[in-house]
Subunit: 194 residues, 2 copies
Amino acid sequence: MRRFVVVGHRGSTSPKFSLNDLAGEGGRMDLLLNAASAGLLISHDVRRDTEVTLILLGPPTPPVSIRLDGNRLQSYGPDVRTGAGLVRRALGQVSRIERESSPGIFVARRGLAEVLDAIPEPLVELREDGKDIREVDLPRDVAFILSDTMDLTVEEQDVVARKRVAVASLGPRSLHTDHAVTLAHNELDRRHPP
Amino acid sequence: MRRFVVVGHRGSTSPKFSLNDLAGEGGRMDLLLNAASAGLLISHDVRRDTEVTLILLGPPTPPVSIRLDGNRLQSYGPDVRTGAGLVRRALGQVSRIERESSPGIFVARRGLAEVLDAIPEPLVELREDGKDIREVDLPRDVAFILSDTMDLTVEEQDVVARKRVAVASLGPRSLHTDHAVTLAHNELDRRHPP
């Protein structure tokens, strides 16, 4: 399995955030859903071998993790508004035990450390000052962690540093999260063709 | 200048397409605007050296070309709804002579052949069956042409074939247009660092 874990520092944990204000009231939910689309969608299909977990740390009741499992998703598309509706539904069903709020969408009261503990694949952090990803060893099954527009906090860095096997950078430009996901996928696609 | 020309076969040419139905009534305007964002945006900034031209070929009055000039854009963001509003405004001002409908956004009654004729840079077609882009000669100033979810028609292929210097592919997967733009940018960023 390929996994992407995206830390959404402001991502809303309210099931009532406005679908008309995903950037503001949603806490950059637009950005998080674009990252999910970059992780899960190829032309005319879903990447069945990929899972994206959004860690929402915004108000009112963080943390919440929302896991999108490409192997179980049905009719998932790139429209952020529709995706945000699925996230809102998930946010209405948060509990300690992970549950499937829609086909392929799982929600739980879990923060970064718990999410990373549940991931069996080697973890690669995507960060601007890492080693060029083209020179990093990447097995077929691998997990990537990346942040939204804000850097990981010192505490989050500590959690990630305990788990990760490498820090990889994607190029000389500072990129949007969804663009970073696209580039990591491409590098894996080339190493491990479908 | 880096240029991306995206052919939107169904892209609406009506200034009244619904902002709530960009995929349907907008003729995949969501996809076209995601491609524009991938072309123009990096983290916290606009790519000032990049221009994206959307060629809209949908009803009611094709063709229309909308050119987004990174060097002149003001406060452009990744929100597709806002971008769609700017496209609608442009569609209300179409004429043979290109005009600037908003800062950095230019509109004209121009189809593919006229748009390509006005581009000075060498043209590279992005297509799945091309040569691996990592092995294609890419000067700092280059133009890319790519299509939306539909392949170029035979007539469009003829127009492109007369201008292009290479056909490049981005990897083993069939990708969304915006993801293709991200990958082409990254390859250029690596060859010609900012």
